[in-house]
């Protein structure tokens, strides 16, 4: 689906938001996709993605299903990208999220050299994808553009909340929860980084950008001080 396409934002805050996905075409080249997708994810780890995910098994930030009460004080905040790679056991959509262009360019260049044969897409500001194609000597094959939202848009939440919640295109990050995290950061109950991780854990496919979320949450606090 179009899970990374319709991220609400402005040119400035979307400029550091890149998702590189790999997907097999069902029934055509998905026969040995698992090994290729593991190779894709392993290669991505070298370029320090801010998130990594497999749309069926989960992302590098995950909930725990048998938690100890101590998690309220000593929660393991470290991402586990290796677990994502290990978990891939069926053809799926895998993704790596980056917050800087140089990492994307280097990663795409490596993926191109690996010549895995599965389709690779970049979700970003259109100009940045063109730049990446030029830098990596690739020719864009197809593009899907987002034209934003129509209909009863008065039902949508405020801009910052929408920026935070729409980063999960599958709708797993609730606008109410995003609002709650904004309030928690504003009132000093949690840091922007902690709040961004809470949000990221709900995004199963790993396309959530916790780095952008932390920046947005930090901005909320700073803006209120001005």
């Amino acid at each position: 689906m179009t899970h990374t396409l319709h991220r609400f934002g402005h040119a400035k805050d979307l400029a550091s938001d890149f998702i590189v996905t790999m997907m097999p075409a069902k029934g055509i080249n998905d026969g040995d996709a698992v090994a290729k997708q593991k190779a894709f994810l392993s290669a991505a780890i070298k370029y320090k993605p801010v998130n990594l995910g497999d749309s069926t098994k989960g992302a590098q930030y995950r909930p725990v299903k048998n938690g100890s009460p101590m998690m309220h004080w000593r929660r393991d905040a470290k991402p586990s990208p290796e677990d994502v790679v290990k978990g891939v056991d069926t053809p799926t959509t895998v993704s790596a999220v980056f917050d800087n262009y140089e990492a994307v360019r280097s990663f795409v260049n490596e993926v191109k050299e690996m010549d895995l044969g599965l389709s690779v897409n970049i979700s970003s500001i259109p100009a940045e994808a063109i730049r990446c194609c030029n830098d990596c000597d690739l020719t864009r094959h197809s593009v899907e553009y987002s034209l934003g939202f129509q209909g009863r848009t008065e039902k949508l939440p405020d801009e910052t909340t929408l920026k935070l919640s729409s980063m999960c295109g599958h709708g797993m990050v609730s606008a109410t929860f995003a609002k709650k995290m904004i309030e928690w950061v504003r009132s000093g109950r949690r840091s922007p980084q902690e709040a961004s991780r809470y949000l990221a854990r709900f995004c199963v496919c790993g396309s959530y950008n916790p780095s952008r979320a932390a920046e947005l949450l930090g901005d909320v606090a700073h803006t209120a001080l001005k």
Binding site: T2, I125, R140, L147, G169, T176
Partner: protein
């Protein structure tokens, strides 16, 4: 989805995490309850929250004591302390809620996870969208509002009247009882889901008409919809739709770009066909 009243301690953590706002702590029984008409079976609460398996009576007792002395514990906001969230066995037509709302559920009609199809993400392999055509993905209910199939049918009927060709391999198309009119199976019309993607393609010269048609369709629904427009690039990697977008008052700040490095595998079945789309 339901919340086991024997386990729930009314901590309220699940209330905020529900994307549809379908969970509330009922003050008369002091337990969280799910409004099943609004719940879209997305599993965000069940799967997204971390779980502890604490004794509910002990937790309730502690909460009562702390509340009495006006103290409040500051727990992690994404934890259900007693694993009280329980998925229900679903039957038709409610099964459709999960199929269109839970990202990990595989659609029987497409064989892939999610609400749509591979779209142009694998176009370098499938060649499903050719030069000279423009593909549209209309995702109703996104972002975060949800949609009932009654609204979806409003849009499919408007599109059908204009004679658009719906994408064959799309879950919504498979729910149509009459593609010529855009009518959906009446059994599903009251079902609410996270979002639904209607897909169709038109010849490039009809792009403006399609955009105007969607603007008109958007006025007839009680939810929101996100519009995606797909094109195949020319041999230089260029497209000319941006000019049309600008002329119709759209600005595209986000796009998904297929890098063209996928290819068909040469299997016995595919031998003899073009290797590279």
């Amino acid at each position: 989805m339901r919340i086991d009243p024997k386990k729930c301690v009314a901590c309220g953590n699940c209330v905020a995490v529900c994307p549809m706002g379908a969970i509330v702590v009922d003050p008369t029984i002091n337990r969280a309850v799910v409004n099943t008409d609004e719940c879209v079976e997305c599993y965000a609460c069940f799967r997204g929250m971390s779980m502890e398996r604490l004794n509910p009576s002990v937790v309730r007792g502690l909460r009562k004591v702390l509340s009495y002395v006006r103290l409040r514990f500051d727990p992690e906001p994404d934890v259900c302390p007693t694993s009280a969230i329980i998925p229900d066995e679903l039957s038709w037509p409610r099964t459709i809620r999960r199929a269109f709302s839970d990202v990990t559920a595989t659609h029987e009609s497409t064989g892939i996870q999610g609400r749509g199809t591979e779209e142009v993400k694998t176009n370098d392999v499938t060649n499903r969208l050719l030069l000279g055509n423009v593909g549209f993905t209309v995702e109703l209910g996104r972002p975060g509002i949800g949609v009932r199939f009654r609204d979806v049918e409003q849009v499919t009927r408007t599109l059908a009247e204009a004679g658009v060709a719906f994408e064959e391999k799309n879950p919504v198309t498979s729910l149509m009882t009459d593609r010529a009119s855009g009518a959906l199976n009446p059994e599903v019309l009251d079902e609410k889901v996270m979002s639904v993607i209607v897909e169709f393609a038109v010849p490039a010269e009809r792009t403006r008409d399609a955009l105007r048609l969607l603007k008109r369709a958007a006025t007839s629904i009680s939810t929101v919809m996100a519009i995606g427009v797909s094109v195949r690039c020319d041999e230089n990697g260029d497209t000319d739709v941006e000019e049309i977008f600008a002329a119709e008052g759209y600005e595209s700040l986000r796009a998904k770009t297929n890098l063209g490095i996928g290819r068909r595998e040469l299997t016995a079945q595919l031998e003899g066909q073009e290797v590279r789309a």
